[in-house]
């Protein structure tokens, strides 16, 4: 390791206060060229604020920032760019209607040598192709960003940072939307960047990744620096206890064995090009995990069962009776709930209160159907805020003000209020912090024990293995394996997901 080098970036004793919050309290970090520093902590620990300070989006109240040992003032995002700091946010910031090349060189497009004001297109495509090689993206530079996958867009963002001679690159949860192969590619690119001497600050909730690609880990909690240690000396348990400030004895809460009757049965479900002859069942009180690579049809399957996407054929039986589900409304009436993959886009009303978010599907059951009783609504919502430990000063709080974990609990509370027979959860803990994760897991396990049939889609194998009674593995729109809890291992699931072996369902 080149840790004997001079640091490329030092942030010293950074303080930032927002009204009512000491968001950063004497935080110091150091980054060396050619290393990957992991920045971990629960949501609200101060990671984002610290990175915003570095990106020039937020001004610190106190503290010094040194680049190559020289104090600098990062007064705005443009200045950050000039200093060689690049940041790639979770929400990508590309212009969809423009080509890859235009996106990468936006603001700095090569000019035609003779015609003033005209872009030198051949030169732009040439330069773009060159940069794209560094991120191993082999697509024409003229391609519109709209037509790229999420992973490709991310590579374009990284390419853009490279084109601006980035020296410190911040990656904020870069793998949250990537498939395993794409993640692999990203790690290779990160490796290349290290060899070129770029320093990388890597923010992630996924422990495996921290251990795979980082050299040192810095832990933040409640705006304070808890410590920095070499990754080789860290263990998952140690990092988690540093992050949450307590020991989480068990990450996963397992539900007791399920012996209930078959609750939901799917027979021969088909959707052209997406789902191919899907059959399975879930017992009351059983947690069935659905694993598979991104794009294998997991989300499409659960959306079809819920009536959110149309199907071309197949039957769904609920408690042994054939049912017709043409819309989510039908599913909700039958007692099926879906906690979707993307809670902000598909589940939450960010500008409405917690109360309004939770009670929505059960309004017609609170007193008279047309005019729900406010008192009943309040007591219902208060129950769920309490039992799910949603942390909020009031049920009138807008949902946009909550952390990811609390937002997810609001979505789950909404479905619990409907007393579902079947609850489908698609990536239930994506983007929420470790503490909240454990709570959501415990909640799912308790629901199963109360007899709810649960289908849980997850890309996190430890979650699938830790929670499920049975694991279904999907590949290319089919269920390719049906593995009971005792026999499920990461290797076996991955083998089925990638098609190395097929185990009869």
């Amino acid at each position: 390791m080149e840790t004997n080098n001079r640091p490329i970036l030092e942030m010293q004793h950074i303080h930032k206060r927002f009204p009512g919050v000491h968001a950063l309290n004497d935080v110091s970090i150091t980054v060396y060229p050619g290393e990957v520093l992991a920045l971990v902590g629960e949501n609200g620990a101060g990671k984002s604020t610290l990175m915003k300070v570095l990106a020039g989006a937020v001004q610190p109240d106190e503290g010094t920032i040194l680049i190559d040992g020289q104090p600098v003032a990062i007064t705005n995002p443009r200045r950050a760019q000039e200093l060689g700091i690049g940041i790639i946010y979770q929400e990508l910031s590309l212009v969809n209607a423009l080509s890859i090349g235009e996106n990468i060189f936006l603001g700095d497009l090569p000019r035609h040598p003779r015609l003033p004001g005209k872009v030198d297109w051949p030169e732009l495509w040439r330069r773009t192709s060159k940069v794209l090689e560094h991120v191993r993206l082999r697509i024409p530079p003229q391609t519109l960003v709209r037509d790229l996958s999420v992973a490709q867009k991310q590579m374009v963002e990284i390419a853009r940072a490279l084109a601006r001679n980035v020296r410190v690159l911040i990656l904020d949860e870069p793998t949250s939307a990537l498939t395993l192969q794409e993640t692999e590619t990203l790690f290779n690119i990160i490796h290349d960047l290290r060899e070129r001497g770029v320093a990388i600050i890597y923010i992630s909730h996924r422990m495996e990744e921290v251990f795979t690609i980082t050299q040192r880990v810095t832990v933040l909690r409640d705006g304070q620096l808890i410590g920095t240690l070499p990754t080789s000396e860290a263990t998952e348990d140690r990092l988690i206890s540093m992050m949450v400030g307590r020991d989480l004895s068990r990450l996963f809460s397992r539900a007791a064995e399920a012996t209930g009757p078959v609750c939901l049965e799917v027979r021969g479900l088909r959707r052209a090009g997406v789902l191919n002859d899907i059959s399975f069942h879930v017992r009351a009180g059983e947690i069935v995990g659905i694993a598979g690579l991104v794009g294998s049809g997991r989300t499409e399957l659960v959306r079809s069962i819920f009536g959110a996407d149309p199907i071309d054929g197949g039957e769904i039986l609920l408690n042994g009776e054939k049912v017709t589900i043409r819309s989510p409304r039908d599913a909700v009436r039958l007692g099926i709930g879906l906690v979707p993959e993307d809670r902000k886009q598909q589940a939450l009303f960010l500008r409405l209160a917690i109360r309004e978010n939770i009670s929505l599907p059960v309004l017609t059951r609170l007193g008279t159907p047309a005019f729900p009783s406010r008192a009943k609504e309040r007591s219902l919502v208060a129950d769920y805020i309490k039992s799910l430990r949603i942390r909020t000063p009031s049920m009138e709080q807008r949902v946009e003000a909550l952390s990811g974990g609390n937002q997810q609990k609001v979505v789950i509370a909404r479905w619990l209020a409907t007393n579902p027979k079947v609850l489908i959860l698609d990536e239930p803990t994506r983007g929420i912090d470790v503490g909240a994760k454990a709570e959501v897991h415990a909640l799912i396990a308790r629901l199963a024990e109360q007899g709810v049939a649960i289908i849980m889609v997850s890309s996190e194998l430890p979650e699938i293995l830790g929670m499920s009674h049975r694991v279904l593995v999907m590949r290319q729109g089919r269920i390719v394996a049906n593995i009971p809890r005792e026999e499920a291992t990461e290797e076996r699931i991955m083998a089925a997901a990638t098609g190395q072996t097929e185990i009869a369902a």
Partner: protein, 349 residues
């Protein structure tokens, strides 16, 4: 009325929390009623602005505060307010309805022509209002079934409606036969000293507020505008909600059409020309967000009131007629800028 209505926020009843939940214990919820009340009563700003405007005008003009003038102003803005209530609901769902002026004229002309044919008053008025509702349903179908953007769908209806009006009347006003006293009272009559259009406006305001803030469908309207996909996945029939809202809005426009016919004793083919602009402005001044998901009935009425009082004040103060329109534009921009500035501040804290 505003205070009472929003007073429900104060009634944070202390319903005992049952232990029936999944996990026992947990963080206590401490509602801060006063704070919640103050931040949630969005109409408060507009009310304060209206009162300041009134105070200023009463200092500058002896006529302004007279009962006659105030009721006159109220009667003048009552039509805008009634239609702005419907428009607000449309905008909350994330849509817009440009066709209200044409609907207002079309339903007025329908009633006028039927009366001329010798129809009795009741059926003629009902037919006029139904023409309005049908137009709204048509808008809703274009938007939900054909998938047209609301702006385009209602722009088309605006043009079709106005065209039909000119075809039906050949451009001439339709005079109302004088025997229909009841109709004329609707536009010109008083209960005590309150003009009847103002009373109609108050009734629509109360019913609209109850509907939007207390009913299940009212909540669905906010949900659809707040996040349409999430509303669908929560089991709400989004298309039905939209159909309802556009139909309701056009029905209110038709009601305004009736009142206008009654006031003028004739149905004018040019009635309500450009009416969509003050109506949308009233909704926006009243705190409705064009992005959807936000807005109240009371806000819309207060928005219409501000514009009405402003117009009256400029007449009283002798402001140049041409300048009046420009001042109205400035007020719209100021009101919305102030609103956005406050929202941004609230979000940052």
């Amino acid at each position: 009325m505003s205070v009472e209505d929003s007073g429900r926020q104060l009634a944070t009843d202390a319903t005992p929390v049952a232990e029936a939940g999944i996990a026992p214990s947990g963080s206590a919820i401490s509602p801060r009623p006063m704070l919640a009340w103050a931040t949630r009563v969005k109409e408060l700003n507009i009310l304060v602005a209206l009162l300041i405007l009134c105070a200023f005008l009463s200092l500058r003009s002896d006529v302004f505060l007279t009962q006659g003038n105030l009721f006159g102003v109220a009667r003048a803005f009552s039509l805008t307010a009634i239609v702005a209530i419907g428009q607000t609901m449309v905008i909350i769902t994330g849509g817009i309805d440009l066709s209200v002026g044409s609907v207002l004229a079309l339903s007025g002309i329908t009633t006028g022509l039927l009366l001329g044919e010798g129809w009795p008053l009741g059926p003629a008025m009902i037919a006029g209002i139904l023409v309005g509702s049908a137009t709204g349903l048509f808008n809703g179908l274009l938007i939900t079934q054909v998938g047209l953007p609301p702006f385009i769908a209602t722009l088309g209806t605006l043009s079709i409606g106005r065209g039909l009006v000119y075809v039906l009347t050949k451009g001439y006003p339709v005079t109302i036969p004088p025997e229909h006293q009841f109709l004329l009272k609707m536009g010109q009559g008083y209960v005590g000293s309150i003009p009847i259009p103002v009373i109609i406006m108050l009734i629509v305001t109360i019913l609209g507020t109850l509907f939007l803030s207390q009913s299940t469908i009212g909540r669905y309207i906010y949900a659809v505008g707040g996040n349409e996909e999430a509303a669908r996945l929560a089991g709400i029939n989004v298309s039905l909600v939209k159909l309802l809202v556009y139909t309701l809005n056009s029905t209110l426009a038709a009601l305004a059409g009736m009142i206008l016919v009654a006031r003028l004793v004739s149905a004018q083919p040019s009635a309500g020309l450009g009416f969509e602009l003050p109506v949308i402005a009233a909704a926006i001044i009243g705190g409705t967000s064009l992005l959807g998901g936000e807005g109240t009935v009371l806000g819309a009425v207060l928005g219409a009131a501000i514009m009405g009082v402003l117009e009256n004040g400029m007449v009283l103060l002798g402001v140049n007629t041409y300048a009046q329109q420009a001042v109205t534009g400035v007020v719209i921009l100021l009101a919305v800028s102030l609103d956005m500035w406050q929202k941004r501040r609230r979000r940052r804290v």
